[in-house]
Symmetry: C2
Subunit: 461 residues, 2 copies
């Protein structure tokens, strides 16, 4: 009998921090644990090397002739976790998982070991109960999600044969707003990151001796950054919104049906008011609109008290969140052109391009703007999951875009042509990426049943 | 025979770093050295305690009845020095002074031990050659100049009786542009320091999940800071220039006579162009105009690469340099009022007031805007110094304002009503506050002769 909670405890005990080379043995431990588990339940497991952490690929084709005709579901997960710092804020050690009340605590319990374990447990039950199920199953479990899936695109490109024939992705690495509301994420924002550095004098200067003679790069940077938004909060870069896809009525209705509360959201954020472009609620703005956000700014003296310096250089770190169908490279090119046009004369401006990710959008079947050419298998997959959710959750799932970026989803689409059905399993209070990360065991159990039911439904299509 | 170079070496060997309590014994060493030296040449020395480092007060009244009628010159200096860091950039240890070529190297050689030693040596010669000189002399040598003369104003207020009867200050803690050009500094800019902090959300937020819903405090800060200057580089705060004193024609002529070269200055700073309000050269702007300068800005992530955060708070450090007759408190109040009017709705703005210093201006006698009530003793002092400079330097001194702030000069004026005759002795290449600080021994010798001659001239008035 497969006990998902005991398995999850053993899995979480592997401190698989991908960001820190010191954790390499634990990365290998987590990888072997997942591979071993999948092998135990009948999968052929392969560790595919990348430039850093291998990808676990585990396959279980349908038996006999069905292998050729049955749906092929690719289940994605990741075995790496965020660093556990700051350690002193944890109530129990991050890699000594502990069940307290209805929750299991430990780094990675929610992101992504618990949700992946729900998929493995569901599959274990399914293949034990119905070994002849006409369904091809492939797990792809990477070890670099928390460091931006840096080698995943290359893996997909070089090993597309290993994943050939898959119909769509089924996965759980997204959230739900409350234990009563199931969400299937259908859109993710893309990202375009860069840094602006403005340099004037060759060195930091004394502001007494030289103040008034030259343009202070902090002033120049503030003035430049201040041009990047209009007073109503839109991004003030020509062409920025040109490729933004229309928000369909059903999307706004879906959000309204979710019945989110602005006052609660403001309280959660600790803000006294929202700041969104006209015509968009905060819940809409974070999902449907692109942004130009300053993630960091620095220049001159930042310690205690005062130091009367005119700094040589000032910097700003910027990320744009992009929505379908904006292209990160094109947007970045337009922003750089705009910055060059607006930069003050005489200063040296460096624009350092950093990582990009494509936005992603899939439309569930039956919605007004579902593409006519949507694959019947994908449509059937959505229906299979919806039916399972109704059965287990007692109500239909909400189909929502999210504001975050998960580049690997767009990579899977770009490299393999596969869309993803993203069944949310973690809650806002799960503390992802933070101390005392935990996962709700009730949600986990419902998740396992939902996934098992969904897969069984898929096998019928 | 008083050997100023040997004395200076012994003086510099005391590592009198006022900023660091670990150097306290060396502070005491430097203080005792100065006191001992002044005692040796006939001064009555007193160490006046303050909340931190004592002030050396040394008096030598004119002999007999002349004490009541002779001019009373107060010579200011400081026995503390800047910290020597970074130590590895020094060619010889900072507190093992060494003569190489025509220079003496070591921390404090130029700021202010060498120039003060020039005054002591000049006085030593003078009183040895002419013990009956009708001149009252008082040295005031403080130990906190490098930490902003934090207790000096209180010292002046509490011990004004010790300095009673002084006619003016004579001192050397300012610079000259070249070995051929003597400058008497007649103006210093004041300062008004503060910090702006803009806070929105209660914590740093993920820019994926929440970007687009709230105003980013970096954006808000950039937009706020960008309102503080007009496109032509003036400070955009109502009333900011109201009290700025007119620049007299003779001041502009004096600067032109100095024949400073803009291309050389730009090269020295490493800038490709200057940025001054219309009608002011860079040399004029730093002396005659007030500024609002950003000394530091910070917010969000500042490390390598990207971190997709909307910070909770963003901060800017600001100092205004002020010119006569601007009042730091009034200017700061006006800026704070303006910032509050312009601050974005919904964010929390904190304005943290930091230190202030008054601007200072004295007009040498015979200039068009010399106050009618200028003391005859001060006017005679200026003439005495000018005659000495002509004799030793072969040309008249330039009377210039400087862009920096030396609050103690304004404090001496405010507390004792005394103006200062500031004879420059250090050169741009002396590396004040930097590694390999040094002092030109040729300038020192000429300085001693100039000071001796000037004091002798003063005694005749």
């Amino acid at each position: 009998m497969f006990d998902p909670i005991e398995k999850l405890k053993a899995y979480v005990a592997h401190a698989s921090v991908s960001a820190d080379p010191a954790f390499a043995p634990h990365m290998a431990g987590a990888r072997d644990f997942v591979g071993g588990l999948l092998s135990e339940i009948g999968f052929a497991v392969e560790y595919v090397p990348t430039a850093l952490h291998p990808v676990v690929v585990a396959k279980r084709p349908a038996r006999g002739e069905a292998a050729k005709t049955a749906p092929h579901v690719l289940i994605y997960g990741h075995y790496d976790v965020q660093p556990p710092d700051p350690l002193d804020l944890w109530e129990t050690p991050p890699f000594e998982p502990q069940v307290r009340g209805s929750r299991i605590y430990g780094r990675g319990t929610a992101d992504n070991k618990g949700p992946l374990m729900a998929h493995i447990a569901a599959v274990a039950r399914l293949v034990e109960a119905t070994p002849d199920l006409p369904l091809n199953l492939t797990f792809v479990v990477e070890g670099e999600e928390e460091i931006g899936s840096v080698n995943f695109k290359t893996f997909l490109r070089e090993h597309r044969d290993k994943l050939a024939g898959a119909d769509f992705i089924f996965m759980s690495d997204t959230g739900i707003p409350s234990p009563e509301q199931m969400v299937i994420t259908v859109g993710l924002r893309g990202i375009a990151s860069f840094e602006i550095a403005l340099t004037n004098a060759a060195m930091d200067l004394h502001s007494g001796g030289h103040g008034g003679a030259i343009l202070n790069p902090i002033q120049a940077l503030a003035e430049l950054c201040a041009t990047l938004h209009t007073p109503d909060g839109r991004v003030n870069v020509p062409g920025f919104y040109d490729e933004v896809c229309e928000v369909e009525d059903w999307e706004r209705e879906e959000l309204r049906a979710l019945d989110l509360n602005e006052a609660d959201y403001a309280k959660f954020l600790g803000v006294s008011q929202f700041y969104t472009p006209p015509g968009y609620s905060p819940f809409e703005a974070v999902r449907f609109l692109p942004t130009l956000e300053f993630n960091g700014i620095s220049g001159g003296y930042q310690g205690e008290g005062a130091k009367t310096v005119i700094p040589s250089v000032a910097r700003a770190k910027v990320t744009c969140r992009l929505v379908a169908k904006q292209n990160p490279a094109a947007i970045k090119a337009q922003i750089f052109k705009t910055l060059r046009e607006r930069a003050p004369a005489g200063l040296k401006m460096e624009l350092l391009s950093q990582h990009d990710a494509e936005p992603y959008l899939v439309v569930p079947p039956g919605r007004s703007n579902t593409p006519a050419d949507q694959s019947p298998r994908l449509a059937a997959g959505f229906r299979a999951v919806e039916a399972a959710v109704k059965e287990v959750w007692g109500g239909r799932p909400f189909y929502l875009r999210e504001g975050g970026s998960v580049g690997l989803i767009a990579d899977l689409k770009a490299e393999l042509g596969l869309d993803a059905i993203m069944l949310g399993l973690f809650l806002p209070e799960d503390n992802l990426h933070a101390p005392n990360e935990s996962f709700d065991l009730g949600i986990m159990q419902k998740g396992i049943t939902t996934i098992e039911t969904a897969l069984r439904n898929m096998a019928r299509t």
